[in-house]
Symmetry: C2
Subunit: 405 residues, 2 copies
């Protein structure tokens, strides 16, 4: 029952729509913006002038003018000097990047993270170093407008409190607060909250905005490392749930008589398709290594004819398809995307996955579903964290730009 | 990347917001509308004048003026002469109602429906009779503005094709088309499509708009008769999925070694918590009856100490909680609502449900969840079908009113 917007709100909405368009689609001619946004030429001109004055876009001749007759339409470009920091905290790695308006990764740092270390400082300190280095390397004219973080844990949207992060040994860890302090210390103008979300949620968002699922409004994204995460987009919007914990598909119980899960339940999907389940089924003990490399080694072994590895992949692939069928029945998505380790598992076991989906999925729910691997690879969460960080700027460009002179 | 609306779109949006407000909240003073819609007095006055001229609202003095000093603010009332037909097709009953703007049930017809009858005509013909009777009984000044239907089946949103209705023996049955013909034959101005949706989806919608879940944006509604249906609201919007089949939680597999389901899969939630599972677990064979009455008799027997009935309810209650825990982990809802037969089961087995939810649900996902029974009882789907029917009028009041003079 929201009333229509005021003139000022409409202007803000139009500025945001134009800026978001060039941020997502790249440099665009005024003529194309007029057509795509459904606004007239003079409005586009006025909006572009405002955004240019705020230093958020620039205008110029198209780079390729060959073969065009007449005066070319000016091209509006997102100003890549306007940047955010995107941070990713996963069980095996930490990533930080400086990402420009338009989505280009301008600078990037990554470190392996040893499993079994529980101290949040061991996560936060390296990220602080990365941010400091990248900030120093940035051009003096570059403008910081915010940060966003992805973590493979259950995180409260409101304040970035990690409610449960079994892979880090965290319960009720104030990660959002700690990251806000880092940004405040390292970056001028960084004295503000840093939004933090689940990494699978942000991966789904990134694949939707600029990956394999562009123009696809109903998506299930599942990803695996030591645990299993999920990000759901329904009707074009992320299913966040009441507190931000939506999409915890790894703790959907699929096998009531299954193994204990570290969430306290039993037979969760994670216990059947997680990395440990796969390595265990193949008879690999902890000494054979863990993480992506161990999964890739196993998949390679299966490809070379290792029967135990093949059986393990078939078994996990069957459970992967089993859970996907449940999610397809619940969400009727157009696409399911397999990220992280599940990408390797899916590629190696696509036949099992599809066969199980066909057996357990309702025909109407599954008939249009495409099974895909990520277009953004392991950078999906990073790019999603950048989208999160750019959110306030795209919602209200002039206000946010004024806050970050 | 939608641009801001034009002046004409804003006017339409404001007219819709005002009309929806009084439709949902009832008669409201101009002063309160000004406050709730965030528009100024003169805009509210102009919008009210337009809606009055279109015959959609009327203005008058408040009914209760006692104890008020000064000149009272005029009250805007939805015009209940403006009506829709709402139709419900369930395994054991057919319902049709004439429902006025504002949500009042002006007239209502209901018939029991025998199970095992497959001919769509046996559903459509009685509904046509109901519509004819109610239309004849309506005041000549009453204005029909549309219809909507709820069916306990998987239905394609686009055209009301029932893709799968096991309870009716239907596959790819063009129900929407058949109902459109009924309305076209019986009601002047009825020559148009009749939107059809799943009954659980519409029940969830109705409970959200005017039931137990008002102001609650993340809801899981589960309902049972012969089958199990689900309706999900995430972030205030129905999770419809790509084709309209979202929310088929009854075919989430919870027991991989369970019983065959009539969807072709095995161990679906429906096979563990559906009416047949409950009656079977209690040793009731088909001769003891089916449907709501049989479930109520069973619950009564358990209340009187029948050990077999008690054990059956405990068993089904445990599986009910099991599936609810999965859905709570996936959706992080604020409320789970138990409709149809599941209302009785939930009330009788609340301890099992809660205990299983506590065991399998992630604390962050379940900590704020309330378990509830419907406020609208068995009329939820009917009222949801009316909301569906009023949709075009509320989206664009003057245009829709002009189409229905």
């Amino acid at each position: 029952m929201r009333a229509g917007p005021s003139q000022e709100e409409i202007r803000r909405q139009n500025l945001g729509a134009l800026l978001r368009y060039v941020h997502v689609r790249g440099p665009t001619s005024r003529a194309a913006l007029t057509a795509h946004l459904g606004l007239n030429r003079s409005t586009i001109g006025a909006l572009t002038a405002d955004l240019t004055a705020a230093g958020l876009v620039s205008e110029g001749l198209p780079q390729d003018q060959s073969g065009r007759a007449g005066r070319p339409s000016l091209v509006v470009r997102p100003e890549a000097e306007v940047y955010v920091f995107a941070l990713v905290i996963e069980v095996d790695r930490l990533v930080a990047a400086r990402i420009g308006l338009g989505g280009a990764v301008l600078d990037r740092r990554e470190a392996r993270r040893p499993r079994g270390v529980r101290d949040p400082a061991d996560v936060v300190a390296p990220l602080a170093d990365f941010v400091r280095e990248m900030q120093r390397a940035a051009s003096p004219s570059a403008r910081y407008v915010g940060s966003g973080a992805a973590v493979s844990a259950m995180v409260r949207a409101e304040d970035g409190l990690v409610r449960l992060g079994p892979q880090f040994g965290w319960i009720d860890e104030p990660l959002g607060e700690a990251l806000a302090k880092v940004l405040s210390d390292e970056v001028q103008g960084g004295d503000r909250a840093v939004p933090v979300r689940n990494n699978a949620d942000l991966s789904a968002l990134a694949e939707h905005v600029r990956g394999v699922a562009v123009d696809t409004d109903n998506i299930v994204y599942v990803t695996g490392d030591a645990g299993i995460g999920g990000g759901i987009i329904a009707g074009g919007r992320l299913v966040s749930g009441h507190g931000g914990y939506g999409g915890e598909v790894g703790h959907m119980v699929v096998n009531p008589n299954g193994k204990p899960c570290n969430c306290g339940s039993r037979g969760c999907w994670e216990t059947e398709i997680g990395e440990y389940a796969l390595l265990h089924a193949a008879g690999r003990d902890a000494d054979s290594g863990t993480g992506r490399a161990a999964v890739e080694t196993l998949v390679d072994a299966a490809g070379r004819g290792d029967a135990q590895a093949q059986a393990a992949i078939r078994q996990v692939g069957d459970w992967l398809g089993f859970g996907v069928a449940n999610l397809v029945n619940i969400f009727n998505p157009e696409m399911v995307i397999f990220g992280g380790n599940l990408r390797e598992v899916y590629i190696a076991a696509a036949a099992q996955v599809r066969s199980r989906l066909n057996r357990n999925g309702l025909p109407a729910c599954r008939e249009h579903v495409r099974l895909r691997t990520p277009a953004l690879g392991d950078d999906a969460a990073l790019l999603g964290a950048a989208e999160l960080a750019f959110g306030p700027l795209l919602a209200d460009p002039l206000e946010a730009a004024a806050d970050n002179p």
